[in-house]
Chain length 134, copies 2
């Protein structure tokens, strides 16, 4: 595994930086989508929903890549290549989604909302990390 | 092939939007990097340099994907899956690079600079285009 250094963590933690997540289609060609991102120190964590193309792709092939650009300075970015090591569904994935809403859309109050049990939390182990513009 | 509609073109043309370009490593795993982007109406065009990982990847496997997010509204983005159909090196690639500098860094004057003949212009035919937040 590869380490998420201080700069990588800072870019991931900033509430205005999206990740572009790459997954592999059934034929091996790549697919890329922007989404909210998080980390737990060792893993990059994303949250998606059941039935989506990227979710199906990660359930079939764990190889992924991410790029997270510092929106305040686009020369400063982190590239990650790694593997999906955990897929969490249901209540815990909804709880994690709420932490992402609090980070990216602090105005939204989901506390009274019905849990969206289609949420899927995905933990990615970085195998290759490169930080540019440190 | 798939069409780059008006919204897709507008996102690509804006001088503050980078593309995340995905290429495939020799083992089939994905690699993703941010870079400047352009189009000619039918193709998405990027400019890189010889010897870089993404250049080697595209020369070996033409399957790529791009995601370009509107930096003024991150809910508005275009996803492209497609194939490299042309790789141009040398002088013409340097000329194209200069148009990207004029777009993204209008203050930089490269007219007096020695041409960087390691530049590589890559034309990508979109096979799948999705625009979100139109």
């Amino acid at each position: 595994m590869a380490e998420l250094n201080t700069t990588a963590r800072r870019i991931i933690e900033a509430p205005n930086n999206l990740a572009d997540l790459v997954t592999l289609m059934p034929d091996g060609s790549p697919q890329v989508t922007p989404l909210w991102v998080d980390h737990d120190g060792a893993h990059v964590i994303v949250n998606t929903a059941q039935g989506r193309q990227k979710t199906r792709n990660m359930q079939r092939d764990p190889r992924v890549a991410l790029c997270i650009v510092n929106s305040d300075n686009t020369q400063n970015y982190v590239q990650v290549r790694g593997k999906v090591v955990e897929v969490v569904e249901g209540g815990p994935a909804w709880e994690h989604f709420k932490t992402l809403v609090a980070k990216y859309r602090p105005g939204d109050d989901l506390s009274q909302r019905q849990p969206d049990l289609s949420r899927v939390m995905v933990r990615i182990l970085p195998e290759h990390v490169q930080v540019y513009g440190e």
